[in-house]
């Protein structure tokens, strides 16, 4: 990717004088995930990194920077979050300069850290073909993609930023991941209703209610007005009962219904590794069937719950 990163740096240098800031990634404290870099000074452009460690979806910063001229670097899935923000008029197209890239997949730091044993001296990460390659303290290591990438990459619907002002590098296909493990949704489908309830009960017992899932979600824009914090009405109580934590997950899923692009940030941010994107995936499947709609694909389309049809093509009401 060496050429892409050089092209990216020069494109950003060229655009920076007209912009208040450019958001990209730089090496951070964690060797397996790069950290956001907010560039206002040309000298910082040299710190930019671009490889499968650029996991964080930077689009989430945009609503908070509304009114400023912001440049942003995006992967395919990040671009879908950005499109969704445009659809909801939470950001203004003319104020955003998008630098799009072809993504080869984003590493899932947790399992990779385990598989590599130590990440001390991790020098490089790259995906080529069906393999993720790591150089750790001079030694080359490989992992199959199914063990190295985030689950969202297994079903990536487009690894190139489709809406952008500057596309850097070559276009390409999403990673071809084989031998993927069973998804949580598939596991749930094999369970009875009662088992599903207890599955979530067990998961939620581990939830520490840190709300990192909410903070990381680019579409959770309510800030201090989140229903989870409201006392009137009191949607969730303050106990650590799994019921209350599941209630919060239902709030997040329903508040992102028809909006969630499956960027995977909620799950990636969760310190307990809980499979919470599953709920949103289930809603997305049914939203696709009901409204023939996929979030974050068309900047001019309204999200399905923002509107209605008098005759709904795919809704079959129950006959009594």
């Amino acid at each position: 990717m060496a050429s892409s990163i050089d092209d990216l740096k020069s494109a950003i240098k060229k655009a920076l004088p007209e912009l208040d800031m450019v958001i990209a990634w730089a090496a951070g404290p964690d060797p397996l995930s790069h950290t956001p870099l907010f560039i206002t000074d040309e000298a910082d452009v040299e710190r930019i990194e671009w490889d499968p460690r650029c996991s964080q979806n930077l689009a989430g910063y945009l609503p908070g920077l509304r009114g400023k001229k912001v440049g942003i670097v995006v992967k395919g899935c990040d671009a879908r979050s950005l499109v969704e923000l445009l659809q909801e008029k939470l950001i203004d197209r003319e104020d955003v300069t998008i630098f799009g890239l072809h993504c080869t997949g984003a590493v899932d730091a947790r399992p990779v850290r385990k598989a590599l044993g130590s990440t001390r001296g991790l020098e490089s990460v790259a995906v080529d073909g069906g393999t993720a390659r790591f150089t750790v303290a001079g030694e080359a290591k490989t992992l199959p993609l199914a063990e190295a990438l985030q689950k969202k990459c297994f079903t990536c619907t487009g690894a190139d930023a489709e809406v952008c002002d500057h596309f850097i590098g070559e276009h390409g296909q999403p990673p071809q991941v084989t031998e993927t493990p069973t998804t949580t949704l598939e596991e749930l489908e094999a369970m009875s209703m009662e088992e599903r309830l207890h599955f979530w009960e067990d998961q939620m017992t581990r939830c520490i209610r840190c709300y990192a899932c909410r903070s990381a979600c680019p579409l959770c824009v309510c800030q201090d007005h989140c229903a989870a914090q409201s006392r009137e009405p009191h949607w969730v109580d303050q106990t650590d009962h799994p019921r209350e934590k599941l209630m919060f997950q239902a709030i997040h899923a329903l508040h992102t219904a028809g909006r969630c692009t499956e960027c995977g940030e909620c799950e990636r941010a969760c310190p307990m590794g809980l499979p919470i994107m599953t709920l949103k995936q289930a809603l997305n499947r049914s939203i696709q069937d009901l409204f023939d709609y996929r979030a974050g694909t068309d900047p001019d389309q309204a999200p399905p719950l923002f509107e209605f049809r008098e005759e709904e093509k795919n809704i079959k009401e129950r006959e009594w």
Partner: protein, 157 residues
């Protein structure tokens, strides 16, 4: 007469003021026999129904939830029920994933004059929920509850 001799279940009905609540009233005034498990919450419009009302009802132990409003094109506020229909369809996708049987939730339309129809909706829905039985509860409680119950188990040190 109750369809379910003796044991009632907790069924919550969210009804709009203008059609279904009046329809339920029509059924009452007509003295139609109907099961008595349903507890009605009256709302101005089905468009006022936050799908979270229904999730919260299930989390708090409801065995079934029924939503009823004006027929499409008859909404007092013109479009409330059209928005509701989309939201409630999406909710239908969420409930089974978190372990609430899809048969425990229905939405429908009953007008103010349809007392008979109201009766048959309530009767069929109540029977449907009874066939499923009570909603399974959570096994554990808060972490404190769990610590307290471990105190009684000598093998846990």
């Amino acid at each position: 007469m109750s369809v379910n001799e003796g044991k009632e279940l907790r069924i919550i009905g969210f009804l709009c003021n203008w059609c279904s609540y009046a329809g339920a009233d029509t059924a009452g005034v007509g003295r139609f026999a109907q099961p008595t498990d349903l507890r009605i919450v009256r709302l101005p419009c089905t468009g006022r129904i936050n799908p979270l009302f229904i999730v919260r009802a299930f989390m708090n132990g409801a065995d079934g939830v029924l939503v009823s409003g004006c027929h499409p094109r008859d909404c007092h506020y013109s479009e409330g029920n059209f928005y509701a229909r989309r939201r409630l369809e999406v909710l239908k996708a969420l409930l089974p994933v978190i372990g609430v049987d899809p048969g425990r939730f229905e939405y429908t339309w009953v007008s103010a004059s349809e007392g008979q129809r109201w009766r048959s909706v309530v009767t069929s829905f109540t029977e449907q929920v009874h066939a499923l039985g009570p909603m399974p509860g959570f096994k554990s409680g808060t972490s404190l509850d769990m610590c307290l119950c471990h105190l009684d188990q000598p093998q846990v040190r």
